[in-house]
């Protein structure tokens, strides 16, 4: 099929940037979206134009590196990652608009590549359980009820891709944070630090410049891992609980 691509080009963090239009021919159904961009880039290189920069690594939907806005939707029209989106989701003659994640906490580095370091700093502020190496008791010392373990797993599926932020009209990272807080909060091991964790992480969230959540639910629709909104509610509840505990 033949397509018209409208892609955001920005040569560096301080460049103003703008949309550029590229026709592309001979795209096959079996290509992944990123392979289609690879083909575009090979063509650009042949013409002596700098290829479009975009992030990807595993290309199997698990590392969370890839991610662009496609026709106004984070990761495009299907609930999956950009690398797992295939061209059979498009029709011959389509125009496809491709933009980077937009959030001030995710500054653009180049073209479609953004800096998601804010996510790491949120985890740094408390997204962990303090367990020094070698000091752990036997794994069976603390059984975990299966429903709790399952809910923790569901939340732990987050791949830190940032689609939730990109999709949220408020630029909030609440789904990402809620997922981590729910994951760790479901485990007995996560209890001692539960109050401090939610306080510290939510303070860092705001300090990074993410917006507050007004429960609009776009994030969960964009999330390739289907993290549900109840993790946000869990986080809110945990924060209130921690304040009641007088921290």
């Amino acid at each position: 099929m033949n397509l018209t691509l409208k892609i955001w080009r920005q040569s560096g963090p301080s460049d103003k940037g703008g949309m550029a239009t590229y026709p592309i021919e001979g795209v096959s159904d079996d290509m992944s979206f990123l392979e289609m961009l690879d083909v575009l880039n090979e063509g650009l290189i042949a013409e002596g134009e700098e290829p479009v920069a975009f992030d990807s690594d595993c290309r199997e939907g698990i590392c969370g590196t890839c991610g662009v806005m496609i026709n106004g939707e984070a990761h495009g029209p299907e609930r999956t990652t950009t690398c797992q989106l295939h061209m059979r989701s498009f029709r011959d003659g389509d125009e496809i608009v491709i933009e980077p994640w937009r959030a001030d906490a995710f500054p653009v580095i180049k073209d479609l590549v953004v800096d998601r370091g804010a996510f790491d700093r949120i985890i740094q502020s408390g997204g962990y359980i303090s367990a020094n190496t070698g000091s752990a008791p036997d794994a069976h010392a603390t059984p975990v009820p299966k429903d709790q373990a399952d809910r923790a797993f569901m939340a732990a599926e987050c791949i830190s891709c940032g689609a939730c932020v990109a999709a949220c009209p408020n630029g909030s990272a609440s789904l990402f944070m809620g997922a981590k807080i729910t994951h760790l909060g479901e485990f007995p091991q996560g209890q001692p630090e539960r109050d401090a964790r939610v306080q510290s992480m939510s303070a860092q969230h705001d300090a990074e410049g993410f917006g507050g959540c007004t429960n609009l639910g776009e994030c969960t629709r964009a999330c390739p891992k289907g993290i549900p909104l109840n993790v946000i509610s869990q986080m809110n509840g945990d924060l209130l609980r921690s304040l009641r505990h007088g921290r």
């Binding site: 290509m31 290829p51 290309r59 794994a139």
Partner: protein
């Protein structure tokens, strides 16, 4: 180097020995080593700098543990976040000799299975230690909140994996790697927050700094490129740890992530670190086949599919284009069941892979033609669906079926899946001793980047185990023995060796940008991958390998003459990054072929057509090749030098593998 040139390709040097393992019975060795290793006073730890390149399971766990201990750690990865290291992609599980199922598992049995699985080409002492610390890994991960699968009683669940007879594999649905890595990553972030670890993401190590301070050469730092600003940075330290993963991407198409590379290891190799067994590559039988020239990577489908799916190809070449549902059972060749009646579809990875290739080479492959060749065999669930019902199959494999459908657009409940083998793991890597120290003092290598624990073939669910064993438990104990003699002489950033390293990195970048030839980096990478897959893939022959060496040499020559890298050095430049990696692959590929050529036996992932039994099975040659081949860089344009480390099996009896 005066040793004679062997086969026109390499020379032989002094044999090597692993000098760090204490000479005590194997079950006391690790305790003894931990006791013997010198201690570092907590107050001194702050003064000791350790660089860790890589934040996969091996690197992140080491960074977190050394940070906790109080050393000054600098951690590097090329991704935008340490959590994205390729370990994240591992699906199946992680082994540990916990014996929670009470089915007779033990440290010795895990050691035995791993050694046998490696076709007796691994070092006993290391493999035993791996089994020994495996149980601690699970405890550590659970304490961190890794959400392993649990039973209704609240205890951890296990499954059996990769043809062993006990259930010792811990798993977190199909994303064990992601969950383990997040655990290690969070522990690492905790230390970053505490200030003991400084993280350098989007930084690529491009050179190792080796300095002789009078007591012989030591690894003292690295040169890294900030991939956002292009700045070339010098980082100095008392010790350097490489945890930079495997080099399967030399084949272009593999299950590895796009960025996986050999650069860190290769640069160290060029500075004197021996590269051991480079030709040992694992090819995984159940991957989604290539669909066209545009393909950028291959996707693994869990091996568990072979439990219920039946593998076949049409008996007649004419049938290959037919709709598989219209081919009656009597016209199908269930070749694994035919050739290996005892194991059937569950033969080990190397055998399943090789036979699939044989079928396709006979022209009986299925699926679309790529080039003029069909690469695929059917993995059919028709009988399973009839026997168990569609719902039962969905329960067991639903997510894998969905993934398959997402990628291929075909519904595996209706039409048989198509699978084909793909490069998956590299057992070879930098040579290390029992302390995980390479042949350059002060340079330690962990995880997939070293060669140590899997011999010629890796058993499923054991790479994750090795990465975490190395990072949490082994390295922190062995590196202290080295650091106890530090802090080493401070290095002046203007030391000639530092300047030389900086200059070489910078001039290489300028050179790549300056060639402005005709061909893109990817086109070279694809061509290299093609050569490697054809001649140094599942089956290798003397003739093919010689041809490959010639082809690689001329491709390398063309690369440095005709590659086109656009853009500049001082911004994010993905072509430039790729170009550097491909340049190193072009050197590694040749060494892999030389190694494969010199090892005239079939063992594990290395099948030499000249060394097979009458019925076409791998034939090992313990008399001549019971050694680790450690290759030393011979110098630019010079032949490599082989150092052999003889393997001795004292605690396990050598046997021939058979799956008939």
């Amino acid at each position: 180097m005066n040793a004679p040139l062997i086969e026109g390709l390499y020379r032989e040097g002094e044999p090597i020995a692993d000098s760090a393992a204490p000479d005590v019975p194997i079950d006391r060795m690790w305790t003894q080593r931990q006791f013997d290793a010198k201690l570092v006073n907590p107050a001194n730890r702050r003064k000791l700098d350790v660089i860790i390149v890589g934040t996969g399971l091996a690197g992140a766990s080491a960074g977190a543990t050394l940070g906790e201990a109080g050393y000054n750690v600098k951690s590097f990865c090329y991704q935008d976040s340490p959590r994205r290291a390729h370990s994240i992609a591992a699906q199946g599980g992680i082994n540990a000799a916990k014996n929670y199922k009470g089915d007779g598992d033990s440290i010795y049995r895990l050691f035995y299975d791993t050694t046998k699985g490696g076709d007796y080409r691994s070092r006993e002492s290391n493999t035993y230690r791996l089994a020994e610390v495996s149980a601690d890994i699970i405890d550590q991960c659970v304490a961190q909140g890794v959400p392993f699968a649990r039973e209704y009683g609240g205890l951890l669940d296990n499954r059996s994996f990769g043809g062993v007879q006990v259930s010792r594999t811990f798993y977190a649905r199909g994303q064990t790697g992601q969950q383990l890595l997040i655990g290690a990553y969070q522990a690492l972030e905790r230390q970053i927050g505490a200030g003991t670890v400084k993280m350098y993401s989007r930084h690529e190590m491009l050179e190792l700094i080796v300095i002789d301070d009078g007591a012989g050469p030591r690894a003292r730092g690295i040169i890294a490129r900030d991939m956002v600003t292009g700045e070339i940075e010098t980082h100095l330290a008392d010790a350097v740890v490489l945890a930079s993963g495997g080099y399967g991407n030399v084949y272009f198409l593999s299950t590895n992530a796009m960025g996986c590379n050999v650069t860190a290891s290769w640069r160290a190799h060029r500075k004197g670190a021996y590269f051991a067994n480079p030709c040992y590559t694992q090819i995984h039988p159940t991957c989604i086949p290539v669909s066209g020239d545009h393909q950028s990577k291959l996707t693994l489908m869990s091996e568990s599919l072979r439990n219920d799916g039946r593998i076949w190809v049409p008996k007649r070449i004419e049938d290959c284009e037919k709709d598989p549902r219209e081919i009656p059972t009597e016209d199908r060749d269930y070749y694994l069941e035919r050739l290996y009646p005892a194991f059937g579809n569950l033969v080990p990875r190397d055998i399943a892979s090789r036979q699939a290739k044989n079928m396709c080479d006979e022209g009986r492959g299925v699926g679309p033609k790529v080039g003029d060749f069909r690469r695929g065999v059917y993995l059919d669930f028709r009988d399973a669906i009839e026997r168990l019902g569609e719902d039962a199959v969905r329960n067991k494999y639903g997510n894998l079926f969905d993934m398959y459908k997402q990628i291929t657009g075909e519904d595996p409940y209706q039409v048989p899946m198509r699978i084909y083998p793909a490069v998956h793991y590299t057992m070879g890597g930098l040579w290390v001793d029992y302390d995980l120290q390479s042949s350059i003092p002060g340079l330690f290598v962990t995880g997939e980047a070293n060669f140590s624990d899997h011999g010629a073939n890796r058993l499923g669910a054991s790479a994750l185990m090795q990465g975490l064993a190395d990072g949490y438990f082994v390295l922190p104990n062995t590196i202290r023995n080295y650091l106890a003699d530090g802090p080493y002489e401070p290095i002046d950033p203007t030391h000639p060796a530092v300047i030389e390293a900086q200059d070489s990195v910078e001039s290489r970048i300028q050179m790549l940008l300056g060639i402005s030839g005709e061909r893109s980096v990817d086109s070279f990478h694809k061509e290299l991958g093609h050569i490697m897959w054809e001649y140094c893939g599942m089956e290798r022959t003397e003739e093919g390998l010689r041809k490959a060496i010639d082809l690689i040499r001329s491709l390398r020559e063309e690369f440095w003459r005709n590659v086109r890298v656009l853009g500049s050095a001082d911004t994010l430049n993905q072509s430039l990054e790729k170009a550097g990696r491909v340049a190193d692959f072009l050197e590694l590929g040749e060494l892999m072929c030389i190694d494969a050529l010199h090892r005239r036996e079939s063992c594990g992932g290395h099948f030499r057509a000249e060394s097979q039994t009458e019925d076409g099975e791998a034939l090992r040659n313990d008399d001549e090749f019971l050694y680790v081949g450690g290759w030393e860089w011979g110098g630019e344009g010079e032949s490599p030098v082989l150092h052999k480390e003889t393997l001795s099996y004292k605690f396990i009896e050598l046997k021939q593998r058979s799956y008939k």
